[in-house]
Amino acid sequence: MNYVIEKADLPNWLDLLCKKARVVVPAENDLGASCFQEFKGQQLFLEARTDFSPRKFLLPAVEKMFFFRKKNFSYRIEPLGSKEPTILFGVRPCDTHALHALDELFIRFLGEDQYYSTRRKNTVLIALLCNKPCSNGFCTSMGTSRPVDHDILFAERETDFVVSPVSEKGKNLLHKNFFKQTKDPLPEQQLNCEKELLTEDIEDNLYNNFNHPVWKQESERCLSCTACTQVCPTCYCYSSDDCFEFGSANSERARFRDSCQLQRFSEIAGGHVFRKSRESRLRQFVLHKLSYYKKHHNLQLCIGCGRCIDTCPVKIDLTEIANTIQREALK
């Protein structure tokens, strides 16, 4: 059974949800960039996919792991971590696939990563279908234009949303005051992305062309600004470090998002950097997205949102690099 909610009622419903959990919605920040924020009555941004993904609500930029408290020359280790229930509203299908890919690594593959999985299990995912393809997106090539693992699915119409609850957890959130039952089906959209990525055997073809000239050619203008890894919804690589509290001998260990586009990412003690050239770092980014992850998990880590292409100040295009190699390999 589907439901409808009037567009005017949406903020009121979100207000109601705020009493139960932290509600996160797409909205514009002071700089005009669309991103996910905690809902505090602000205007929602539902026109298109956001510039930033909701990644930071599951993998925060900085995350405290433990506290080391020193007492009588001995340390006590106190684990930290968040159990705050979170409702993510307005997550686009590509971003639900991003969470699906992260779940694979952090929950299913190696045993659970406590920090990620606690947060993920306390998260309700409300997906929102796309009406139109976005500028640099290529979700139709990656098979990510339909959502996965969501609890509720929203589809926009002129004056209302058609809502389809998927899980029990999601169904419980649909309050009678706002949601009316309907027999309308979810509006069927056919997205036609302009961009295309040739995905056939891409993991092997890219890896076998490790020294293809396209890597050098494209990386020559790379600024190592790390914008691609900042906006990527699936960039999960991190570093950890201890923060010392001056005055006491206490300290805490935190992990923070790191970027493979920096030299320090592959620098070992003693100063040897394994990926010194921009070429090798750009290749690491693209191959991790399109080759390595697929080999290990049989899932593409790139979900075709096109954010890295949108954001790159020198217009390096992941699909162009991959397609150049693919066109030669698939001949």
């Binding site: 340390y75 190696l110 406590q114 201890d242 592959s266 003693g270 010194k276």
Partner: protein, 276 residues
């Protein structure tokens, strides 16, 4: 449930100055039961925390047959190792692990073991040499090739002397910068390979050392007739988790922490070891 990133407390029970920059720390878990149940395969590594400074991956350099304590041989090259070097007997560090695969010594039974070590890279190999010593009857001979910067920078001097005297063990050491009183070999470690009659059949090579040394040692050994499946090298990469999440140690389709740190020559041939 405890997160796998949580370190367990351990106490430094002994510090030994190996060279001016390298110390061996012997530690014990504070929890006696944990220490009693502790075991590891030679070549594995642990994540060692210095509280307030951070965590680093360090190979175990003690014998797998002597697990009442664990030894780490650490060079003072970074901020965390520097902090560790300031620590004294009785102080506390954090430990978790062991991680990684280690050398598959079980598969090497009945063979000659050829150890090729460069500088501080001797540390992960020492536990394998100890294993050989312990179970000599199961193997043929052991050849230890060790290259270091100068006689002063030589690690494990007492061990080397002991091994030289032992049956079935052949120890060859070379230095890059000899002192006037140095009577041994000079030059890089690959120069040692033709100083002794090396049996190629029924032999396996275990390597660890800096990237350049590994590169040329693998080439040198292959020239002598060793095949890829006889070569096993332990690699060094930056690691922040040791569990396979942080992706710092990613080389091609492998992760050094969860697929390594020991890789066979067959695997190494498919890995982009020199990416720069």
């Amino acid at each position: 449930m405890i997160a796998p990133e949580t370190p367990f407390k351990a106490k430094i029970i002994d510090v030994k100055q190996e060279t001016s920059e390298i110390k061996t720390f012997t530690v014990q878990f504070l929890d006696k039961k944990q220490q009693k149940n502790f075991f590891f395969a030679p070549g594995k590594f642990m994540m060692l925390s210095v509280f307030g400074f951070g965590e680093m991956p360090i190979s175990i350099s003690s014998s797998p047959y002597k697990t009442d304590s664990i030894a780490f041989t650490v060079a003072n090259v970074g901020s965390i190792s520097n902090a560790l070097h300031q620590m004294r007997k009785g102080q506390e560090i954090g430990l978790r692990g062991p991680y990684g695969n280690g050398f598959p010594l079980q598969k090497f039974r009945g063979k000659n073991l050829i150890f090729v070590a460069g500088g501080c890279g001797f540390a992960p190999l020492r536990s394998s040499v100890y294993s050989f010593q312990e179970k000599k009857q199961e193997f043929k001979d052991a050849f230890v090739f060790f290259g270091c910067r100068s006689p002063k920078e030589m690690l494990f001097k007492t061990d080397l002397k002991q091994w030289e005297r032992e049956e079935k063990m052949h120890v060859l050491v070379t230095v890059d910068e000899p002192t006037p009183d140095w009577k041994g070999y000079t030059g890089v470690v690959t120069k040692l390979f033709n100083k002794i009659d090396l049996p190629v059949e029924d032999s396996v090579c275990l390597l660890c050392g800096p990237q350049v040394m590994l590169h040329f040692s693998l080439i040198g050994l292959k020239k002598l007739g060793f095949r890829d499946k006889q070569l096993f090298a332990s690699l060094e990469r930056l690691m922040h988790c040791g569990l396979g999440y942080c992706a710092h140690c990613n080389i091609g389709q492998k992760y050094v922490c969860r697929d390594g740190p020991v890789f066979s020559g067959e695997e190494l041939a498919k890995m982009p070891l020199r990416e720069d």
